[in-house]
């Protein structure tokens, strides 16, 4: 029997009062919405005329819609570049900060700043930094004798957007990893160095295996964020008429639902995004079962 307070008499009512908002949220906000979106994806509906049964046609149309295929593959490319970038760089920063050198507090604050501030505000300044003729980044490149780059043109925009997104996410990953690193007992390292293990050996034989729970958690969070990334991409790559140089899946869902009022198409795309997340989760939890070490 699990430990817990037994509600007495009228307290049962209190218990349900406390749980009601959450139950409403589950019914309307999350689980109910998932079911509703699933149902909508089989209809054609513009919110004006009554919904029309469409069978699988919304899904079938997705595979012929070049704009959507582009958006979906952009989402995957983005995740493939972004997730390892965030995980590796924030682990790297955390390991350096965990070396017990001075100034931890200052570095932590600075690295964390982009996590606190709005993507819209910082994207505005990134837009200026990335400017082709007027931007400060190309000025730096030119002063080192390199040729200027059109950072936000279609062939480079993906990379530029990934860089800004990683810049914005390192701080949070760093905190997760620092929490994991400080939990590793110091005497493991002392014992290892007495046996003559060097820093690299200690990192790969002690730190890395013991930090796998944090790596797992951070990869999961980063991937969920990657599949839903929107703000920086919108601010850095939008063109006229709501178009974008790097359209991603969320972009496509947004435009279909709220610009074109194709609720069925947008729902089918949302379901496909949810499936992508679910497949990824499946892989991650398989990985957790086999490779993540919990003490």
């Amino acid at each position: 029997m699990q430990y817990g307070l037994k509600p007495l008499g009228r307290e049962k009512l209190w218990l349900w009062v406390m749980l009601t908002p959450t139950l409403i949220g589950l019914a309307f906000g999350t689980i109910g919405s998932l079911l509703a979106t699933l149902v909508l994806s089989f209809y054609e509906w513009d919110l004006i005329r009554p919904p029309q049964w469409a069978g699988f046609s919304n899904y079938a149309a997705l595979f012929q819609n070049e704009t959507y295929i582009k958006a979906f593959s952009n989402t995957i490319t983005f995740a493939v570049l972004y997730v390892p970038g965030v995980v590796i760089l924030s682990l790297f920063v955390a390991v350096l900060l965990n070396r017990k050198i001075g100034g931890l507090g200052i570095f932590r604050t600075i690295y964390f700043l982009p996590t606190v501030t709005s993507a819209v505000a910082t994207a505005l300044v990134w837009n200026m930094i990335y400017g082709k003729d007027t931007g400060i980044l190309n000025y730096f490149l030119e002063s080192f004798g390199m040729s200027p780059v059109c950072w936000l043109c279609s062939n480079n925009a993906m990379m530029s957007v990934v860089i800004v997104n990683i810049w914005g996410a390192i701080g949070e990953g760093m905190i997760i990893f620092l929490a994991g690193l400080t939990a590793i007992p110091r005497d493991y390292y002392e014992a290892a160095s007495m046996d003559g293990a060097n820093d690299a050996q200690q990192f790969f034989k002690i730190t890395l295996p013991l930090i796998t729970p944090s790596i797992f958690f951070q990869t999961l969070i980063s991937a969920i964020n990657a599949f839903q990334a929107y703000d920086y991409i919108y601010m850095l790559t939008r063109r006229g008429q709501g178009d974008s140089t790097v359209p991603v899946a969320v972009y496509s869902i947004y435009r279909n639902a709220f610009n074109f009022f194709r609720m069925g198409t947008a729902s089918a795309q949302a379901i496909q995004l949810a499936l992508l997340v679910a497949v990824f989760m499946g892989i991650m939890f398989w990985w957790e079962r086999n490779y993540v070490v919990y003490e």
Binding site: K6, T22, I136, V277
Partner: protein, 282 residues
Amino acid sequence: MSSSTQKIILDILSYAILIFGAITMLFPFLWMLSVSFRIPAQQYSRSIIPDPITIQNYIDLWKNLPDHSFPYLVFNSFKISTLTAAGQLITCAMAAFAFAIVNFKGRNLLFSLLLATMMIPSQVSLIPNFIIFKYLHLIGTQWPLILPAFWGGAFGTFLLRQYFLTIPRDLVDAARIDGASLFGIFWKIYLPLSKPALAALTIFVFKDAWNDLLHPLIYLPTDMHQTTLTVGLAFFQQQLQMGGKFTVLMAGAFLSILPLLFIFFIAQKQFIEGIALSGVKR
């Protein structure tokens, strides 16, 4: 090479990398600040120290935008973020208490279900929620941004439950013997003892609401008296694309991040501990 020289070399290398990284992290903020104090003719200047330094951009922003929209944008963002934080704080704390402390049938199942919803991308609920609010005739008002905060949330509930579980059970048993009610234990023991976690959640929720772009874009009209700072800034940027005063835009960007910078500097500890807490194995 002795191990102490090796340590010194590694320390220097670590510092060099960390300082380079810190400059990269900080530079966009410094640049934003620098541009915001320049005269418009020098908006593309390559010097980080503005010459001359002017505060005219801030005055223009506050007083001279069409319809005096900037103060409205700030007010709307404050209002929506504060109400959102209040809603999440109340509903998540109640649910977290029930899940952490009270023994009831179906507790584990319900909690697992709630946790599982963290994996559902929020885009999935976007469309049904839009339709519900449309039938309630609330599109174009701020309600669709505020009301959902009052139906709980997986992240907040999980975070507070983690913290509640660290509070010693003896306190509950002792209070029970003294005849305290369920709600009394929640109100008089758990809430006062959980201030750090409650502060962390407040900051997270306020921050997310303040920085949100997608939902205000969907629900609010493009009326600069009704919408939020993020949408307002995005809209100003679009208007400036053809050439205009980016100095004023940077002043707006800087003012929009100022409240969060302020909160972050006074509550940094809660913020960072909150994130670390959310990463703890359950």
